[in-house]
Every structure is written in structure tokens, then in C-alpha cells.
Amino acid sequence: MATYLEFIQQNEERDGVRFSWNVWPSSRLEATRMVVPLACLLTPLKERPDLPPVQYEPVLCSRPTCKAILNPLCQVDYRARLWACNFCFQRNQFPPAYAGISEVNQPAELMPQFSTIEYVIQRGPQSPLIFLYVVDTCLEEDDLQALKESLQMSLSLLPPDSLVGLITFGRMVQVHELSCEGISKSYVFRGTKDLTAKQIQDMLGLTKPAVPVQPARPAQPHEQPFVSSRFLQPVHKIDMNLTDLLGELQRDPWPVPQGKRPLRSTGVAVSIAVGLLEGTFPNTGARIMLFMGGPPTQGPGMVVGDELKVPIRSWHDIEKDNARFMKKATKHYEMLANRAAANGHCIDIYACALDQTGLLEMKCCTNLTGGYMVMGDSFNTSLFKQTFQRIFSKDFNGHFRMAFGATLEVKTSRELKIAGAIGPCVSLNVKGPCVSENELGVGGTSQWKICGLDPTSTLGIYFEVVSQHNAPIPQGGRGAVQFVTHYQHSSTQRRIRVTTVARKELARAFPGRTRGTNSGTVSWADAQSQLKHIEAAFDQEAAAVLMARLGVFRAESEEGPDVLRWLDRQLIRLCQKFGQYNKEDPTSFRLSDSFSLYPQFMFHLRRSPFLQVFNNSPDESSCYRHHFARQDLTQSLIMIQPILYSYSFHGPPEPVLLDSSSILPDRILLMDTFFQIVIYLGETIAQWQKAGYQDMPEYENFKHLLQAPLDDAQEILQARFPMPRYINTEHGGSQARFLLSKVNPSQTHNNLYAWGQETGAPILTDDVSLQVFMDHLKKLAVSSAC
């Protein structure tokens, strides 16, 4: 098994791909029996410091319906200068530039180690990056001040030739013109009126060609004379202006009567931002960065009225169908998100408020466009400040870790079809022979648009095995998948990253098996060996994340309990399929190593905020789900099952079970849930700390002990995006709830006496513990009734 682990890891490092099954079933029937679909997690822009992009363009298969890119899996006839497409088997001539090709002189794309390769496209105009700030001014003074400072700071981080724009909103929406001297100019819109893109462009004076296109440059459809947009200007030109402008930003001046929320026209502001970019820079990478300090309270997209006495919708209201504005607002933002996505613009939302801000309604803006969603309490917190700063972090080449306007195209060999994708993308509705009828996630297409990408953005891509049971491919055949990602690099280059992967397929893995029979037969032995092979190639981590994505995807549209039931059923079926057990004998149940962690992931997934809304506001749920749908495997696993480290005098820090039994008085715990970093001092430790031992020279080791988790936490904080909430608490502290709610409640008030005092802290909950969960699972798995 070690080999498989290595294989998986290697593949991930090289290609950024993790399949749920690394050996593929050879027929549709077999695939369906395997419960967990054949799918992969793809990180299209995984950082590859060792992969310099090649400065030429890829060679395409000449079959118009295929257009796959030359890759190491292709058969090449060096003599004839021909290559055979490994997807459609079309034979293609090499282009003239490849005249010198030979076995010893291969282009990079033919070398096996370049299963992932990046091309730079030299043609076409270079479009600058665009950053459009959309800023709420209905903030408290210090919040606004902090936000202004962050924004001013960000100007220095932007590439000098990128374009920036500024829209502010409160009761009205102002689009600031940046190029004027001596007077600051802005266009003002009523916050209550929905405008069409055409109207917005008319009103901003964008429809008239302000400057005739210079004849020297052939006008291309994509190309816009930059000068034409007074609202988007190169940073290096106007950073002084803009800094002053930001400095002079005032809180929304309209009076807010007692008992009212400020009127906030977020819906119109976003609409104008989208309309502005749509009119000026369609199909050019752009980020709309929305900073808001409260819910939209008027106009299209309003989430709550301005009466403070009417609270913003809760999950309870939504279940009761009591959220008046939700549907309409959601529709508004969906429309905007789709328009933005169609133009390749991504929308970020930075929402900082103590109450909800309407992320539930607005989530599509980020989810469909690949933007970030950041939720905080205030702009005046390091959580926001550092998160925001981190957006502009740079890679080893000094480029931003962001890419724009990407299209991901997936090509499959004949045995596979594409069922769909789940991630920060929208469908481009490109049908083709390799698109399946059955949809999982966003399906019905072989291409998706991902308007904003960073090196960790990860999509789950689901496949369907289509080869028929009676027409299998020869055993040991290899199925292949090619991922082609076109994108605008932050250096403004257009690039194409191509990843071509292949996996073994097993022919007739289970020839003699029939449905529902687990009993050994003659074929069993045979099947058993095959099965073992398949089992061994199971990537339970990837599978857990992929299943979780499916679950979360469903949860967006279905009732929570239904999703949980579905997940349970899948888990039981999987255990039935791959468990070793005697019928009706739960105690005999065993899972192989490659499956052993999977039920536990599912257990924690069921308890996770992605599927449980209890204790979370709709906004929080939306935010958690947002991040879950775009993070890579490692982060996703942390989200599903937080990591817990224990620090003590007994030895070096060690990971411990995420279990209440790990909460001991003489331990310091460090929990990372992705969204929170919790440092928890056990009872004794806390007492010592209060007594001040750490300040006594003779207890310096205690000081070190206290410091250790802090240092580790810092390390995580440094690397994580978005910045997690950092919680420092202790036994009995109110914030300890963050820890208590995550750990497996192996000890509760119900079984407390059975377990004895020493072993850990009881959790006051009625939730089932992992133990109980597993017991039930075993029982159900071995039961022939279900």
C-alpha cells in the first residue's frame, strides 16, 4: 500500500490531481457498484516552482471535435513526424517548428515528467489586471478608517500597470472618476433603482467612443482603449490621487434615525460594478472587491429592511419560509454573478460586521466567479487586515498568486465521460462527445469558466465510466484525462496549463459476481484479488472530500436531513461493498487500511458546519461552504476533521485524537479547524498560568511550554488564507466551546460515570459519539436487511 500512497502523493505534487480511485473500473456497472464515484480533485494552478513555462504554443490534435493537446501519452512516429492523439486516435502532422524532432530531441511536452506543462501564449493583446474596489461607507468611524488604510496600503501592492477603480456606496452609489486634477469627480446613482447594464453604461458616458480607436492598432474585439475609461486608471498614474481620495472618504452622510439600519445600496453598487466592467473590459481579468459592513438594506438585492426591530433572517426563518427578501435578493445577485462570470470578472466579498451581512444571498457572487469570501467582525481587526494583505501575496517569481478569467477544459478518453464539476466555476455549456448525461455538480459541459483562481483553488471533477460490461477494454489499459486550463496570469500573460493523467483500468474486475452476494464463490477468489487491487488504489482522503463536496453541493438545494441520509446510505453501501465481515455479525466487520479512516471522516463531516446549520447563521454556513468548495485536499480535510495537537511536559507535541478524551488538565491543546485556531489550556495548566509560574525563572520550562503552541499557531496563521480566527482560551473559558463542539463527544453527561474522571472532559451534548456511530454502521453494514 505504501506504493499507492507514494504514487498518489507524487501525482498530487506533479499534477495537482487526486483521484478517488486510482485504478478505474472497466465498466459502467462496476463503477456504479463502487459507490464512491470516479472523480478527482484538481488544483489547476498548483504551484510548481520546478516548472518553467514554455514559451510557445501547444500543438493541437487536428480533429475539430477533439483538439487535444500533444502530451507524453501520445504515440509519436518520429520518422514520419506524426503523432497519434491518445484521445481520438487521430494521426497528426507535427507543425513545421517541430522539424528537428527525434527520439533524442523531444519537445518538453512529450517527456513523461511533463505530464503537466505550461505554455505562454504570445499572441493577442496583453490586458492589464483590473481591481475595482466597491466600498461600503456605512461604517463606524474607526472601521472605515481601518478599511481606508487597508485600501491605501493595497495600492502599493498592486502591479503598477494594473487598473484600479473605486465605487463607494451607502444610501447612494458613487462611481469615482480617477483621472481628474483639482477636483474629485464621481457619478452618483440612486441606491434604490435597478439599472440595466445599458443604462449604467449610458449614465457613465461609456457608450460614446470618447476617444477614437487609434488606427495604428487594429481594433480587436477584446481590446478597449484604456483611456476610454475614466473610472479605471493605471495604479502608477493615480495612486496619489486615489490615496487622497480614499483619505477623504467620509462616512455616508445621510442621517440614520434611531432604531434604523443605515440605508445600504449594496445590490446596486455591485450591479454598477459589474455593468462598468462589462462595458469597458469584457473578457479581461478583473476583480471586483466588495467591502461591506452590513447587510444591504435597500434597493434590489436588499436582504433586510432598515427597521432594526426586524432582525435579519435566520435559518429558522428560512425553514419557515419567512425570509421575505431572500429569494428576490438571491435572484438579483445570481444574475449579477452570471454576468460577471460571463465576462471573466470575479467578485470578492469582504464582509465585516457583528451581525449577518447577507452572504447567504450574495454567495453566488463569489462562488460562481471564483472570488473570495471573507467574513469578519470588523475591518479594524488583524483577521481582515492580514487576510486582505495576503490576497496580494506573491509567488517565488514575484507574481501575484492569482489568475483570472480561466477556462478549464477536460478531455477524456473514450471510456469516461464527464459528469460535472464542483468548485468556484460556472459552466460554459460546451457539449461534446465526452459529456455525460448524468450530472454530478455543475454538469452538462466539458468546459467551465473560473474567473478567479489561485494556486490552491481546487475543483472536484466527477466522471462516469461508460464502457459497457460486455465490451471491456483489455486489462491493463489506460484511461486518460487531459485538463487544459487557459488563464490570464497575473503577469498579464495568457497561459495554458495542460495536465494529462492516465490510470490503469481493470478489465472485468468482478466477472462472476452478482448483485448482493458477498459469499465466497469460485470467482470470488479471483474477484477478491481484483477487489484488493481496487481497494488498494482507493484514495480515501480524496474520496472523503469529493463525497463531501457532493454532499455540500446537495445541501445548497436540499433539506439538511436528506443530505445526511444520503451520505449515510452511501457510507453503508461502501462498507457493505468493501468491508470484510460475516453477515449479521457486527463484530466481524473489518475495513482495509485504505478505507479505515473514511467512516471517521464521514462522522466528522456529518457534524461539520457544512452540513449542520445549528448554531450557525445562514451567512456563516454560506461562508464555510464557500471555502470548502474551493480549498485543496489538505485544507478540506482539516475542515472536515480538525487537527488537534497536544502539548505537555511528557514529551514533544503530538497529534491526538479529536476526542473529548484528549482534553486533559495537564495538556495544552492546539486545534486547527481551518477557520479557527484554538489554543486551549487544560485546567491545571491554566491554574499554573494564573499563578504566574511562567514568570518565575525556575519554571522557565513552563514558559516554553506555553509558548510552543503559540509559535505553532503563528506558523499556521502565516500560511492560511483566509486568516483563521485565533482563539486563546482555557479550561472553563467561554471560548472553549469552539473546541468542545468539534471533538468527538466520547464522554458526555450521559456516559460520564462509565468512563471515569481522569480520562478527559465530558461534553454536554446529546450528539452521538464516534463509537456509537461506528457501532451503528457496522450493524447496518452487516445486516442483510438493508
Binding site: 447612494m172 483639482g182 452618483v188 440612486r190 457613465l204
Partner: protein, 1081 residues
């Protein structure tokens, strides 16, 4: 006349006259020599011949005759006077006035009387007699003297012109070519004709009109014209008239005509007038049509001879002079009920002793008929022209402010009238009886005071509200909108920055000016700094608001493109205190012209701009004023979008009224909202072409604002005028968010209102803004009997917010007499006020009726008024005599001016916008303004010695009064001309213009060079003085005799026939006489 004239003044004047004649004859070329004519007569005669020649023979003889005739005419007057007999004392007073003119005359007059009527014959030749009809113009009542004055007519030419303006004039007409002469005119005439015909029937051949050669034959006419109507004051020297009328192009101006009627007259009285003769012929032919009221028809034939002597008919100049001399010296004390104040043209001081000063209220009559029957019979409109916030001369104290404390001003419980000097305290002062509704009210304890033995409160003289006609109360919070004391008002400057505005240099000029002008915002009393806040908006197709908050380093501009749904994008920083935000404002005003320097935007919006200003005030919860600077027809897609609907073909059709009506109702709706918010709109227009003033001015009109129009604005030429109007407009004291209510004694009731305001019910006049120039005219009707003893009371209460944001009530009280005798009514009328009312009435009428109907109505009403007088008040006399009440003797001449004004009788070159502009301008004019507007002032500059510093006496507005060796100044409140005669002495030219000869003077010059000599200083001083008197800056236009521009100038010579068909004074008078006779018979 000759006689009289000749005596004193003649010499100077005389000369000129001759000259004119000369013109006619020779058609200008002529006779320079004319000057030579020793005596006036001579002059006339001279010309005559000329005329006659053209025409047939008959005339010649006449000419000679005429001269004499003229004299005779005088005589008549005299008589007339006599007849009328001395009437009221007041009138008597006027006598003196007349004297000045020719004291000599006076005597003669008297003597003449005897002569009079009959004598027409004597002096003149037989013919004369025959011709002349008798018209007497006699001051009805006592007017004697005055009349005589008229008679004399100061020999000189007085030009008084009123009436039609030349379009081109000041309002700026567009560049169109000016029509010449008559063309346009004819149509009108036609319409007129009918009337004429009516009377003329008898006249022989009368109707022939135009072609009519008929006229020529004087002879015939004579005979023929048996017409009956006696009246007209025909004029003697026809020539003179003619000249005036003819003016430019047309050779033969139609004679004005009366002649036709004259026949009748002749018989009767003064042949003297008759002389007119010769000229007529000429006219007849050429112009026939033009003649005004129908007169023509007849005229031709009749007679040439018959013209009335213009000097014989009532002269406005004389009346004004008389009044000045009689009443200018002593203060007018308002203590006595029903006193007729001095004329508006007289400088006098007012002492408030219980009635409002005539500066605040003037009535058409100070003695009201007790019953509605009488009122109906007399047809004299009962109206008051009220200027509640009128500015007072420095010598007069502005109204005292009274504070009645928390309970607010003391009022009658029933009718809500405010405490005033006429309230009767009874029961030892514990109660008071309301003088309006007779309700008995308790006196609140804190207001109690004992009465003295006359029943007067002992503190009456300590309390303005008990002793004065005008005073103010401090309003309590109950009088405020939303029961909240108002915030200080705000001014918003809204500047068109479209291509036209930028190109003409307007924007730059304006911004530069505003920088300094902002220091002169109106402030109250001794306040150190104005409480008024300011805001700025610029616009073309979209609006730009500016944030000029003092804390900003630079102004912020906020563009609102959503003109379909206007809103105000900012609250804080839009309206600011000038001193606090000075640097930001200055920076803004520097930027604006730069920012738009390269604009290509030509389209503008209009309604959204007003909407925006109004919303801004609403958001700031204050009243205020918008200053809009606008250039073009708002054709951009937005509410209130207009299309060009200017259609000259509509003139003289039933649809003509649509030209005065707004295109869309949107502006009325908007105006209503503005009024509700106390948002007054002042509009400055700078059009290069049609902008639809009728529609654009709706909002200013309904919100109590003003409209200023500068056609084809060019910085070099018009900056002075614009800036000075702007300065005055910005600096003037304004009351905001005002409501005016006029209460009256039981028996009469305010029924109709004219002016710039809005009314949402029938009694309250709502004014978003009201300044010291705006006038509200109120008409009263009887709803019951009035009591002769108690008289009739008016109380005008104006609730307004001062520029410092203080809520106040200004009260004006006026007590009038009531009469049971019509004669009392006629004795206490004021013609200027009457004309003011009638003009406003007519100008409103054109919105709903065809212009012709409106004109007919005016004529009929005037005829009825005069006929009623003749029937009921005048001493019996021949039907052929025209007898006018002393107080109304100028009614015909003034009314004629109204009738021929551009609104009612447009010339070809008058644009639709001009008419609409004037129409709305007149609506809120006060009496003094309408007076000079309709009958312009014509001042000879070189007649009196240079050292003489007083304003020279005016002359009548007629071309025949101009002498080509002199320089004249003409003004009507909007226009200012300097007319230079062709043979002015070189020295004068040099000292005034700094050039050596007449030919070197630039025609159309608008600024006189500053030269260091007496004449130049005097003239410039005079011009400045005139400008200071008027609420709008009058741009000077230098007109040279015989120059193209002279056309323009002649338009203002209102006693002459106008090119657009307006009748000459003489003709009109004849026509009026005919009408009256018809009514009487």
C-alpha cells in the same frame, strides 16, 4: 397751439419740428433748411405743401389753414377745461403744474375758453372748422387747468412712447432680419377695420382702405366725410404724425387716421385742428392698411384736414410734470382715508399715519362705489397693486417689527384679521370690534390698555400696529411649516455647461463673478454675515453636484446621470456657509470653466435641474432660491423635454394662444412641488434660438421668481447687463416660503390675482419667494353693499421667512372711501394703476383667447368707462366732444400703448420667445414699471443748458418731437437708447463720443466713452441714474438718425403709428371717441 407754444419754449423746439416735416416731404433728404422755419407754423406749412403735391390738389389750401387751426385747437382745450369746471380740489392743485409750462398759456387758456368750441372756426379757415371735430379733451372734472396744459402741449416734441417695443429691442431678439415697415402690420389692421367701419359708416367711402387713394383727395374727403364722429382729437400737423409713423422705409405711411370721422367734427368745433390736412393724402395711399383702428377707412377721404393737433390732446408728459410740480414737494401723509397719492412718476416722501404707503399698495380707485350696480355701470376695475416687500427710499423707515410674544399676533377671532389701526376698542378697552367683520373680540389681558376720551387707546402711538399702515409681526412657531422654526434659506447656483454656454464665455464670466458676488448675499439688518448658504450645480445632459465642505482639500463633483428620476446625491457639504468654505468654493469656481472647456455636449435638460434644486432644499429642510443659467431648448431625453414648436403662422389665428401656453403640464406640477418646498426659481436665459420661454418660465413664474433673457449672449457686449442684473438679483432681499392673504371689509372681496405666484385655493397667494420688485395685483368685486361712512378697508398680510430665517408677518392696511356718486369714483381714480391692471388682465387673457378678442375687450372696456363718465358725470355738451375725466385723460394714450405692445400686436421681428418673455415680465410689474414700460421716457439731452443738473423734462414719444440737431435718451425700463440727430453740433459729438463727426459715431455702440467734460459726465450720470431706478439693467444702444438701428428705436415712439399696425395716439383717440359715441347713442 401755436400761440401758446410759441411763446415760451418755442424757439428751441420749434426748430426741430420743422425739421421733421422736412423729412417727410423730402423723405429725409430734404430740407435741412427746414430748421430755418422761423415759426413753427411755418415749418408745418412747409411740409404740407410737399405732401399735397403728391396727392391731388385739394389739400394745399388747407395747409395754411391748418396752422391757424392748431391754435384754435388750443383754444378749445381751454374751453374744455372751463367746461368741466373746476372740480375737486385735488385737481385744482394740479393746476399749478400746468403753469410752469407755459405760464403764459395759462392765461390764455382761460381766455380762450371763451373762444372755444365755437371758435374753432375763428382762427382757422373755414375748412378748418369744418374738419375738426370737436373733441374736447377735457379733464372732466376740474381738470381745467391741466388740460390747458395739454393743450399747449409743450410745443416740443415729446415723445412718449410706450406700447410696442421693438422687438428687437432689448429682450434681444434674435438676429432675424427685421422686417421693415409695414408688411406685418397690415393684418392687424384688418382686424381693426371692422370696428372702424362700424363707426365710420357714415363716413364717405370710408372703408376703402388701403389702396385708397381716396385719401388723397383731401378735398373730397372733406366734403365727403360727413362723418359724424366728432371726436377725435385730431391733430394738426399731420405731418408730424406721419413722420413718426412712417419711419423708415415706407414712404408713405398711412396716415393715421381719423380723418374719416372728422367730418363730423369739423362742423362742430374747432376747425382749428383741422389743419392737418395735407399729409393724409399721402398716407392714405401707401399705407392705407396700416392705419390703426379702422380709422383709416374713413379717413382718407375725409380729410386731410382734419387731424387733431397732437399737441392738443392730453399729454402724458404734461400730466407727469404737473403732478411732479404740484405734489413732489410735500410729503404724502397717509392719515386721510381715500386720498389719491401722487403719480408714480413723482418723487415724494411718504409719512405713514395709518395707511400703507402707495409704495406698497396702489389702487385703481380710492373711492369705491358702494354697490355692485354702480361698479358695473362704471366698469372701472377695482384693483389694488400690492408690492408687499417694496423697497423704500432711505428717508423712509422700514416697517417696525412687533413682537406679541408667545401668543402670537393679536387677531380677530372670526375673520382672523390682524390687529390694525382701524380696529375699534370698546368697553373701556376690554374688547375690540373687528373693522373687517364687525366681530367683537376680547382683548387679552396682557394687551389691555385704557382708552382716552376719544375712545382711542392711550398707547396707540406706542404701538405700530395701532398707528401705522404697515408693520411686521414676529411669527410664532404656529406660523411655521411643520411647526418648526425655519432654517436660514439657501441659494443654489445651477449652471448650464453645455457647449453653447462654454463657447459664449458665459460660464467663465459667471464663475469669476460669483467669487466676489458671494460676499454680497442678502443679510438681515446689521448682521455681519449672511445666513444664506450656497450650493452649486452644473449640468448639461446630466447634473453635476459639488461638495464644497470646508474640510475638503478640493471640491468634489458628483455626477447624476439618472435625470429621469432625479435625486440629490449628497447632503453634507452641498449647502455651505460661504465664509467657511471659501477656499473650496473659489477652487471650484476656478475649476468649472476648465473642466468643461472641451465639452462637446450640446444637449441640455431643464426640469430635472429644477427638480434637483428643489430636492436639495427639501433634503436640507429649508427654503431657498435657485439661480438657473440656461442656454438652450431642453431636448435631451428627460422629464420636461421640449420640442421646438415655434410657429409664426399661428399669429393672428385662434391658435395663437398656444404660443403662450406651456408645452407640457410637467412644469406646473414641478412648480407646485417647488412652492410647497419654498423653492423660488430665478431663470437666466442665454438663448441663441428658440428656447420656449413660455414653457421654461412656468416654474419661475409660479414660484415668484424672475426670468432674465439675454439673446445671443456675447461676453463683450452683454456682460455688463448680465452681471449687473445678476448682482442685483443675488443681493436683493427676498422673503421665502410666503403666503399672502388679502382681507377686506364686508361688501367687497378679493376675487382675482395676478402676478408671479401659485394659488392652491382661492384666497391664499403662495409665493415660494418674494422680492422687493414683485407685485401682486388683486381685483375686488362687490358681494354686498359698502357703507359710505365706514369706507372700505384692505388688509394685506404676508407671512414669510426672512433671509436670516426669521418667520414674520408683514401687514399693510389701507382704508378707501366709498361713494354713491359715480363722479366721486371718477375723481379718485389712478390711470397708471388702471393700466397696470388692464395690461395684466389682457396679458393673462392671451393665454386663453385669441389676441384680437383680448384687444377688443380692452377697447370696449375703456370705451365703457369713458362713456359712463360722459353720461353720468360730465356736464352736458355736444356729442361731438370727447370729454375725458381728469383722472383718466391719459387712459386712451396709455391703453393704446398696451394694445400695440408686442404681446398684443407683434411686429414681424418679434419672436415668440420675446412675447412670452414680456408677457410674464409684465405680470409682476409694479405701477411705475408698467407706466414707463408702456409709455417710454424720452429725454432731450442737449436742450437745456449743460450746467443744469436736473433731469431734463421729457418729451412725448413721437418722432415729430425729435429734432435732428439734438440728442435724446429713451428708456422704458428694459431698453435704453441714445438717439443722435444727424445735424448735431460737432462739439457735442466730440464731447460725448470722442469722435469728430456724426458719421464717425459707431452705430449700436453700447458704452459711452468716459470723457472729461461736462456734457459727457452729465449724460453718463443721467444714464446711470436711470439704470439705478430700474430693477433691470438697461443696455445702452446708440442710434444714429437715419441709421438701420433707428427702426428699432422708432418702435418705442408710441404716439406714432407703429410698423406692426398699432395706431397712433391721435388715431386711437378718434377711434375711442367713436366708440364712446356709439355707446352713448
Amino acid at each position: 397751439m401755436n400761440v401758446n407754444q410759441s411763446a415760451p419754449p418755442v424757439p428751441p423746439f420749434g426748430q426741430p419740428q420743422p425739421v421733421y416735416p422736412g423729412y417727410h416731404q423730402s423723405s429725409y433728404g430734404g430740407q435741412p433748411g427746414s430748421t430755418a422755419a422761423p415759426t413753427p407754423y411755418g415749418a408745418y406749412n412747409g411740409p404740407v405743401p410737399g405732401y399735397q403735391q403728391t396727392p391731388p390738389p385739394g389739400a394745399p389750401p388747407a395747409s395754411t389753414a391748418q396752422a391757424p387751426g392748431g391754435q384754435a385747437a388750443y383754444g378749445q382745450f381751454g374751453q374744455g377745461d372751463v367746461q368741466n369746471g373746476p372740480s375737486s380740489t385735488v385737481q385744482m392743485q394740479r393746476l399749478p403744474g400746468s403753469q410752469p409750462f407755459g405760464s403764459a398759456p395759462l392765461v390764455p387758456v382761460v381766455s380762450q375758453p371763451a373762444v372755444l368750441q365755437p371758435y374753432g372756426p375763428p382762427p382757422t379757415s373755414a375748412q378748418v372748422t369744418a374738419q375738426l371735430a370737436g373733441m374736447h379733451i377735457s379733464g372732466a372734472v376740474a381738470p381745467v387747468p391741466p388740460t390747458s396744459g395739454l393743450g399747449y402741449g409743450p410745443p416740443t416734441s415729446l415723445a412718449s412712447a410706450s406700447g410696442s417695443f421693438p422687438n428687437s429691442g432689448l429682450y434681444g431678439s434674435y438676429p432675424q432680419g427685421q422686417a421693415q415697415g409695414h408688411p406685418g402690420a397690415q393684418p392687424p389692421q384688418r382686424s381693426v377695420l371692422p370696428q372702424a367701419s362700424s363707426f365710420t359708416p357714415s363716413a364717405s367711402g370710408g372703408p376703402r382702405m388701403p389702396s385708397m387713394t381716396g385719401p388723397l383727395l383731401p378735398g373730397q374727403s372733406f366734403g365727403g366725410p360727413p362723418v359724424s364722429q366728432p371726436n377725435h382729437i385730431s391733430s394738426p400737423p399731420p405731418q408730424a404724425l406721419t413722420p413718426g409713423t412712417q419711419m423708415s422705409g415706407p414712404p408713405g405711411p398711412p396716415p393715421p387716421m381719423h380723418s374719416s370721422q372728422q367730418p363730423g367734427y369739423q362742423l362742430q368745433q374747432n376747425g382749428s385742428f383741422g389743419p392737418a390736412r395735407g399729409p393724409q393724402p399721402n398716407y392714405g395711399s401707401p399705407y392705407p392698411g396700416t392705419a390703426t383702428f379702422g380709422s383709416q377707412p374713413g379717413p382718407p377721404q375725409p380729410l386731410p384736414p382734419k387731424r387733431l393737433d397732437p399737441d392738443a390732446i392730453p399729454s402724458p408728459i404734461q400730466v407727469i410734470e404737473d403732478d411732479r410740480n404740484n405734489r413732489g414737494s410735500e410729503p404724502f401723509i397717509t392719515g386721510v382715508r381715500g386720498q389719491v397719492p401722487p403719480l408714480v412718476t413723482t418723487n415724494f416722501l411718504v409719512k405713514d399715519q395709518g395707511n400703507a404707503s402707495p409704495r406698497y399698495i396702489r389702487c385703481t380707485s380710492y373711492n369705491i362705489p358702494c354697490t355692485s350696480d354702480m361698479a358695473k355701470q362704471a366698469q372701472v376695475p377695482l384693483a389694488a397693486v400690492i408690492k408687499p416687500l417694496a423697497r423704500l427710499p432711505p428717508e423712509e423707515a422700514s416697517p417696525y417689527v412687533v413682537d406679541h410674544g408667545e401668543s402670537g399676533p393679536l387677531r380677530c377671532n372670526r375673520c382672523k384679521a390682524y390687529m390694525c389701526p382701524f380696529m375699534q376698542f370698546i368697553e373701556g378697552g376690554r374688547r375690540f370690534q373687528c373693522c373687517f367683520c364687525s366681530c367683537i373680540n376680547d382683548v387679552p389681558p396682557q394687551y389691555f390698555q385704557h382708552l382716552d376720551h376719544t375712545g382711542k387707546r392711550v398707547d396707540a402711538y406706542d404701538r405700530p400696529e395701532l398707528s401705522l399702515g404697515s408693520y411686521e409681526f414676529l411669527a410664532t412657531v404656529d406660523y411655521c411649516k411643520n411647526n418648526k422654526f425655519p432654517s436660514p434659506p439657501a441659494f443654489i447656483f445651477m449652471i448650464d455647461v453645455s457647449y453653447n454656454a462654454i463657447r459664449s464665455g458665459l460660464v467663465r464670466l459667471l464663475c469669476e463673478e460669483l467669487k466676489s458676488l458671494l460676499d454680497f448675499l442678502p443679510r438681515e439688518g446689521g448682521a455681519e454675515e449672511s445666513a444664506v448658504r450656497v450650493g452649486f450645480v452644473t449640468y448639461n445632459k446630466v447634473l453635476h453636484f459639488y461638495n464644497v465642505k470646508s474640510s475638503l482639500a478640493q471640491p468634489q463633483m458628483m455626477v447624476v446621470s439618472d435625470v429621469g428620476d432625479m435625486f440629490v446625491p449628497l447632503l453634507d457639504g452641498f449647502l455651505v456657509n460661504v465664509n467657511e468654505s471659501r477656499t473650496v468654493i473659489t477652487s471650484l469656481l476656478d475649476q468649472i470653466p476648465e473642466m468643461f472647456a472641451d465639452t462637446r455636449e450640446t444637449e441640455t435638460v431643464f426640469a430635472p435641474v429644477i427638480q434637483a434644486g428643489m430636492e436639495a432644499l427639501k433634503a436640507a429642510e429649508c427654503a431657498g432660491k435657485l439661480f438657473l443659467f440656461h442656454t438652450s431648448l431642453p431636448i435631451a431625453e428627460a422629464p420636461g423635454k421640449l420640442k421646438n414648436r415655434d410657429d409664426r403662422k399661428l399669429i393672428n389665428t385662434d391658435k395663437e394662444k398656444t404660443l403662450f401656453q406651456p408645452q407640457t403640464g410637467a412644469y406646473q406640477t414641478l412648480a407646485k412641488e417647488c412652492v410647497a418646498q419654498g423653492c423660488c426659481v430665478d431663470l437666466f436665459l442665454f438663448p441663441n434660438q428658440y428656447v420656449d420661454v413660455a414653457t421654461l418660465s412656468v416654474v419661475p413664474q409660479l414660484t415668484g421668481g424672475s426670468v432674465y433673457k439675454y439673446a445671443c449672449f456675447q461676453v463683450e457686449n452683454d456682460q455688463e447687463r448680465f452681471l449687473s442684473d445678476l448682482r442685483r438679483d443675488v443681493q436683493k432681499v427676498v422673503g421665502f416660503d410666503a403666503v399672502m392673504r388679502v382681507r377686506t371689509s364686508t361688501g367687497i372681496r378679493a376675487v382675482d390675482f395676478f402676478g408671479a405666484f401659485y394659488m392652491s385655493n382661492t384666497t391664499d397667494v403662495e409665493l415660494a419667494g418674494l422680492d422687493g420688485d414683485k407685485t401682486v395685483t388683486v381685483e375686488f368685486k362687490h358681494d354686498d353693499r359698502l357703507n359710505e361712512e365706514s369706507g372700505a378697508l384692505l388688509q394685506c398680510a404676508l407671512l414669510y421667512t426672512s433671509c436670516a430665517g426669521q418667520r414674520r408677518l408683514r401687514i399693510h392696511n389701507l382704508a378707501l372711501n366709498c361713494c354713491t356718486q359715480l363722479a366721486d369714483l371718477y375723481r379718485n381714480c389712478e390711470t397708471d394703476t388702471l393700466i397696470n391692471y388692464m395690461a395684466k388682465f389682457a396679458y393673462r387673457g392671451v393665454l386663453n383667447s385669441p389676441v384680437k378678442t383680448v384687444r377688443d375687450t380692452l377697447i370696449t372696456q375703456c370705451a365703457q368707462i369713458l362713456a359712463c363718465y360722459r353720461k353720468n358725470c360730465a356736464s352736458p355738451s355736444s356729442a361731438g366732444q370727447l370729454i375725458l375725466p381728469e383722472c383718466m385723460k391719459l387712459l386712451p394714450v396709455y391703453l393704446n400703448c398696451v394694445l400695440k405692445s408686442d404681446v398684443l400686436q407683434p411686429g414681424a421681428e418679434v419672436t415668440t420667445d420675446d412675447r412670452a418673455y414680456v408677457r410674464q415680465l409684465v405680470t409682476s410689474m409694479d405701477v411705475a414699471e408698467t407706466n414707463v414700460f408702456f409709455y417710454p421716457r424720452l429725454l432731450p439731452l442737449t436742450k437745456s443748458p449743460i450746467e443744469n443738473t436736473t433731469e431734463p423734462p421729457a418729451v412725448r414719444a413721437s418722432e415729430e418731437r425729435l429734432s435732428n440737431g439734438d440728442i435724446y435718451l429713451l428708456e422704458n425700463g428694459l431698453n435704453l437708447f441714445l438717439w443722435v440727430g444727424a445735424s448735431v453740433q460737432q462739439g457735442v459729438v466730440q464731447s460725448l463720443f470722442g469722435v469728430s463727426s456724426f458719421s464717425q459715431i459707431t452705430s449700436g455702440l453700447s458704452v459711452l466713452p468716459v470723457l472729461d467734460n461736462l456734457l459727457s459726465k452729465k449724460v453718463r450720470g443721467l444714464i446711470d441714474g436711470l439704470r439705478a431706478q430700474r430693477s433691470r439693467y438697461m443696455k445702452l444702444i446708440v442710434v444714429k438718425q437715419e441709421d438701420k438701428l433707428e427702426m428699432l428705436f422708432k418702435h418705442f415712439l408710441v404716439e406714432d403709428k407703429s410698423l406692426s399696425g398699432g395706431a397712433s395716439y391721435v388715431d386711437f383717440l378718434c377711434h375711442m371717441h367713436k366708440e364712446i359715441r356709439q355707446l352713448l347713442s
